[in-house]
Each structure stands twice: as structure tokens, then as C-alpha cells.
Symmetry: C2
Subunit: 304 residues, 2 copies
Amino acid sequence: MAFELIILGSNAAVPAHGRYMTSQALNIRNRHFLIDCAEGTQMRMQEYKVKFQKINHLFISHLHGDHIFGLPGLILSMSLNHRKEELYIYSPPGLKELIETVWRISQSHLTFSVVFKESNSEVSERIYEDEILTVDTIPLKHRIAAHGFLFKEKPHPRKMLQEKIAEYNIPFHALNGIKKGADWVLDNGRIVSNAELTTNPPKARSFAFCSDTAYSEAILPLIEGVDLLYHEATFTHDLMAQAEITGHSTALQAAQIAKKANVKKLIIGHFSSRYKELQPLLNEAKTVFPDTELALDSAVFSVG
Amino acid sequence: MAFELIILGSNAAVPAHGRYMTSQALNIRNRHFLIDCAEGTQMRMQEYKVKFQKINHLFISHLHGDHIFGLPGLILSMSLNHRKEELYIYSPPGLKELIETVWRISQSHLTFSVVFKESNSEVSERIYEDEILTVDTIPLKHRIAAHGFLFKEKPHPRKMLQEKIAEYNIPFHALNGIKKGADWVLDNGRIVSNAELTTNPPKARSFAFCSDTAYSEAILPLIEGVDLLYHEATFTHDLMAQAEITGHSTALQAAQIAKKANVKKLIIGHFSSRYKELQPLLNEAKTVFPDTELALDSAVFSVG
């Protein structure tokens, strides 16, 4: 039951030091999602063996160039590879006009439909739901409309103890209810408690993507207790004034958010090009939140 | 006196086999030009140490995605690096609208001006001229308005023999005329021929970029005798029907054009992704035009 994130780019604004810009591929039990799509994303996908035809849902945090300039090329490549499936793109408003202008002027004719789902970044919205997971937006604080994304598995059903089915002669039609937590009543009226019939299911897992954003405690209730938090950390804390002006966060601030939200693990990225070496950012974050890692290009994070 | 071409990408349509898409950097005596700008061009420039701030003139052959999708990112990176100089972009019509839509929607504010010079692709036009060179368009035959570019040095002045200046007591103000071919008349009326005073200058050099295009003999007069011809060769000749339908050329056709135009050297590129190995394309071209090379990513061609 995979829940795996691959970092396709980790730098802010421009490519530097071998780092590309923001894009991440997320695989949750064979649902393949892409989050942001900077220039070069399709090259990174080739390099890291992420199959782009499997991606049906693409999430864009905001419309700054370093998060979207890989979109036209990726979509065109999907088309040149004869894609037929619809592609859903979730973003703040404006992306549809941008992309459709590109198609019109470059006279590109796609082999499939792109469905744009634009939502404002003022309040959290549920933008995706299927039988196993939901995706909600996380309003962020940036210079332009921006929202992150909370990917969350739905609760798994409880695990039926197979030997109890035989022991109590439980019919097939009753199993679903028991897996959802129901007790079982025998013919003689005795109640067999759910605790005797089932074991706890695996925990529902979650990942929150928060970039680009200034420090904002408003996101805490939305990301409370997530298993994996990606939070941007453009600067070290000595440049906090710079972070405030540009609507970004420091590594220390990212760690403060992680701590206050009681997340299990923090990964940081969107590094300013001024940092060739990233150890200072990591060290800074770890002083506040020890379980922090760098979300570097090619890094893979699994939620267990 | 550099005249050097660096190939930044050589594949058609999509990145494949480690090859990026069309873009070439041309340095003629410290004028730095960029021709086409596919996605990833700025990464290739970093990789191959081509300084993008030196580029003041950018030439776009046509508006298909695999020739322009690197433009927004490259221009934005120039701006984030605090560029002040104007950037001139020469292209078929439509690019200004596309790029300005991107700036508006992504709320990008540049630190410098981009001047769009759009020309139709019906007839050859002189689109650039300075004291040492000219650039003319080469109308091409493609599915969309497209033109190549002829970069041509102006004739160099003849070389003055220094010892003759003293021998005939030639004043400084007369030297320019002699370098342009004038004879020198002595006080006694005797004419000293220019041939005695000067030697031949270095030959004016030229490079023609022809992509994307179907086989077209209409370009022959424009590229006659150039030192270096880049001609697209998307397919091997067994796929000539495919080449015709898509407005592309085969390697054999590229070589036929090179031969008929009496060029000095041919380089081929814009390879279809179906060719992992490119030797068949090279072999095919060489049967008609022996001095052919593959214009592969990272290849450098100097015109002597």
C-alpha cells in the first residue's frame, strides 16, 4: 500500500547547483498525482522513472513561473504520446487562460481534454475525493493567491479475524458492518463485541504540501498531526526580514510550524539559490524539530 | 575572432535519450545570440557555461512548443538576476501576445524591457544589422509560419602592410580608403596599386539555421555557399512520406540541400525520438554530402 513522494525539484525561483524548481510526484496506492510543475519537470520525470501518462490529477499551488512553466511542455508531451484520458488540473484562478493562450498561439492540438478546476485560496476546500482519499486546499500567505494541499487517506476498515467468522457462523452480508465497527448479535441474544471480532486497521496516512508561504499559524488546524509535512524554507533565519518581504519562510519557521502542528515528520525545500550547501538550513530546522529532512531533487519519502 | 555555435538541444518534439529540444547559442566575435528556446534551455546554458546575461538578441524560428517553451523561464531568470539591458526577440507573429499573457497571469514583473520584433515568414527580411554582421530570415516550409536565419559577417577590410606606410609615407587619413581597396597616388603621379599595399582579409563567415522545414529548394539562393548549415533531419529517408505530412525533412534531403547550395559543412539535428542511435541518419546524409556531422547536445562547431 504505497504512499510515496518523489522530489523532482527543490530550488526556488531559478535552477541552481544542479537543483531544479518545485515539482513533486505523489503515489498513494496507485493514484499518481503531480504537485506543481516547474520548467524541466518532464525531464526529471524521465530521469527518475516517473511515468507521466499515469498522472490524471495535477495540483498547482500558485501561478508563479517557478511552479508552472513546465506545464505546457509536460501536457504537450502527454499528447505527443497519444494520451486519451482526461487530465484534471487544480489551481488558483488564471491557469486555464494562460494554458489555452499557449495552445492557441503555438497551434497545439491535444489528443485529450484538460479539465481546469480553479478555486480561490481564501478558504480550505475539498477539491478531490475518491473511495480511498481526499484532497483539501490549505490557504497560504504569499504575494499571489496560493494554496497548499492536504492529501489524506480515508479511514481503513477494521481487520476481520477470519477464525471468528467460522466460530460465530457470521454470514457474508454482515462483514462490512463489522469492519466498520459494529458488534455481532448471536441467535441467543448474546452480544459479541467488535473488539473480539476485529483488530485495528492500519492508520490513515496524510501528507501536507505547503509552498510558497510566509509563516502562518492559520494553517495549523488543517495540518494538525499529519504524517509528512512539506513546508517551504527559502531562507535561513538571519534573513527573516527578506522572508517576510517576499512572502516566504525561514527553515526555523518551517520547523516551528511542524512542531506546533504536531506533525510526524518535516521535509523542507524551495531553497534560495544563495545556498549551495544546505546543511545550515537543515541544522537550523532541527534545533526546533529534530525529525526534519531536506527535500532534495531525487529524494524519496515513504509514509509507512 | 570567434564564430562558434553550441548545441543546447537536438531532439524533436519531446526530450528523449538524454537529448533536449531545439536551442543553439551562437557567438560571433562577442555578439551572443540564442536561436530557439525549448524547455530546459536555461538548464543547458548553465550546464554548458553559456552566460545568459550576455544574450541581447534571441531568434525564434516558429512558435511550436518544442522551440519556445523555455522562453518564459529563461527571461524570468534573467530578471531575477537583475538584468537591465533590453532583450530583443525576433519571431513570427504571436509570441508577444503569448509571453505577455504569461507575465500578466503569473504576475511577473521584469527588471528589463523585452522588445518583440515579429515578422512574417513569406519573404526574406533583414531583421538585424550591426557594424560587423547581418541577420536575414530564411522562409521555411512547415505546418506553421516558420523561418530560419542567415548570420553573415560583413566583408572584412583588406590588411594594410605596415612597411608600405613608411615606404610611401602614407598619411593616417588615407588608410581607411586603402583598406577598402583604393590605390595610392604618389606626389610624382605614380600609382601604387592596392595589391602592393595590402593583403587579402579573412573571409567573411556565415551560418544558416534551417528548422523546422520540409525539403524546400526555395531556400537555396539564400544559403548558397554558407560555411555552416544547420538543417533539420527529423527522419531517415524510408519515412519520407511521414516527413512530408509533418512538414519535416529526412537526413538525405538535408544533405541534398547542402549539396545543391554548395555549403562548406552540414550539421543535422531535430531528431525524432524514434532514433535512439543516430548513426543511420548520419550515414544516410553522408552518402550525399560527406562533410556532415550530428548537431548533438553539447556539440561545438567553430567556423574558422
